[in-house]
Symmetry: C3
Subunit: 256 residues, 3 copies
């Protein structure tokens, strides 16, 4: 299975052009659009989303990840193996949180899930300046999905994990996604928060609830969403608008 | 073929997460997004749309239907067999109009299309409070697509059809969908209306036309759309905006 | 591979209904959404986009093209073979630029890519007045994808190319698409422009740059996009809004 994680938006030709390359180079492999509206040009917010979604996919899945404001510049192209899944994308931190968590989770003798990184030195005959998703990352993802090894040289994982920078904590106390229902997803794993933790955002104090139907209409709260992240919602409302929460807004955790 | 009918919106991760489960559990089965912008939280409007679209799909199709404002609450989960197609979704009336029409259409000796209902008692190991589409309905749809029988107990169809409530007539005289071109789809089957029927909506009186090109630019009218529903349009205009028609707006039939 | 090129929009039931026909009639063939937001009702702008995207697809690809404001009227339905790919769609000029360029490119003895046209006389049992994409074009595309020949009679290519009209030049000096990032795509092939060519649009004078990262933040410019078209952008901005460029806006080429 090849899974697409991009900021290309739900319309336009870019997703289709990438999928055509995958269909040509890895015929018969299932292609799944996971997210086409990742925060545009925002590798940091996207990295926490990707790390939250990835674990539910089968081992062997190839994630084709394109949030790539530096396309055409000097950033490297990577293939990463972590927790028995593949990730292909730019070396801008987008895959760094996945790697950090896979590394943290390693215990015992097995080395199966230990993150490994290849820098992709291969270049296609035609490489546009602005669409490496189609020209470079998609052919590599197809190759991995066919069971071949990554083109290029393995390099130490530490250098990639360092791409994340010093302001990329283990959990990101910011709004990283606003969904179709107006819910505001944070980069905080709910399992890292105390049951009585209160989130403070845009001047509101939000307590945890187990589900929407526990609350009166119009009540704001936070809950553990289906991907394990703390998500801010308003019962039968649109939290982002109702509470004034924008992408990137800071969230403070009280009673951690 | 597994057909998705949801109110998840065209973007966001939810459709992709559901499709990944289908690709894992029913590999090789075609997955088709029929509608991802069904009226949000509105099982009634959605039920009339689903019933209009369903008959054109091949027998054996599995419809995975998620318009589910009560997720996490007490509503049951259903697998329904009607007119030789499967439907999986919440017991909130979403499948009730499909069942009613399949039941009405039964004549003669064959019982092939008689609606049957199973209440899904099976629960997955991990069941999130808010995303039964991925955790519960998708695995069941995949199972049906593989040719297996539904998990759970068969129960009388009447109890489900009753979910539709007393204000769910055979045809719904309301706007149930606004499409990309601004056309306003009603819940009325055109075949149930007289040729000279006039629709009255938002203060406008609309006559039937066979096709757009029969009318002058800017003229409002109604016509039988490609799914058999009465649809309100303005030639080379956007009916919803031009006539002030919102989702849920009432439509009155004159000269029925 | 069957590739969809439509103005149906990213949501709504129309794409899914077409794909269900393809999945039924050409099972196992990969279906790729290339563009679902082609300029609505605008066959001319769409024709230049289609001609820019098509060459990168493998030979044998079937393009199902539906930008069809005249649906239900007198326009013919076509199957076109050009440069070893198939195109199915309305006879309104949508396929004319593809044909013109395939014809222009013919040299030497091989006739493989010479455009040929069939007028589709076949009609399905059920043909709605408003949705030929599902009822007529999709079954024909599936038939071609199965390797069968087009239904109907071959006719001279000249008659189709004439559909393009006299105001359809080889390159269209207008904005033909605004993408998700706000970039404004023209109908001009960059390879036809001098390196020092300047584009004048909405009162702005734009010079060519090789890539976004060559320019200061907020600087407007044009560049050769990944499909060979001249595209107007603002580094880290949204060109359409920042420069006041709408779909269809004229572009003047200086220093051609």
């Amino acid at each position: 299975m090849i899974v697409l994680f991009t900021d290309f938006g739900p319309s336009g030709p870019y997703l289709g052009q990438m999928k055509a390359v995958l269909a040509r180079d890895a015929p018969g492999v299932a292609i799944v659009d996971l997210l086409s509206d990742a925060p545009a040009f925002d590798a940091r917010s996207s990295a926490y989303l990707l790390a939250a979604y990835a674990p539910e996919f089968p081992t062997g899945t190839v994630f084709l990840c394109v949030v790539d404001p530096g396309v055409g510049g000097a950033r490297a192209a990577l293939a990463v193996s972590a927790a028995e899944r593949w990730y292909v994308g730019p070396d801008n931190g987008l895959i760094a949180i996945v790697m950090r968590r896979a590394g943290d989770a390693q215990t015992g003798d097995t080395q199966a899930g230990v993150p490994k990184v290849w820098e992709i030195a291969w270049r296609p005959e035609r490489l546009s300046a602005t669409f490496h998703g189609r020209d470079l990352f998609a052919p590599v993802a197809a190759r991995l999905a066919r069971g071949e090894s990554p083109p290029g040289d393995e390099r130490p994982a530490e250098r990639v994990r360092a791409m994340a920078g010093t302001d990329w904590p283990d959990d990101l106390a910011r709004i990283v996604y606003i969904d179709h229902y107006g819910n505001a997803v944070t980069g905080l794993r709910a399992a890292q928060l105390a049951p009585e933790a209160v989130l403070r955002a845009a001047g509101h104090e939000l307590r945890r609830a187990a589900r929407f139907s526990d609350l009166p209409r119009g009540a704001p709260f936070w809950y553990e969403n289906a991907n394990g992240l703390a998500e801010i919602a308003v019962n039968q409302g649109r939290a982002a608008q109702d509470l004034g929460l924008a992408l990137g807004a800071e969230v403070e955790v009280v009673n951690k």
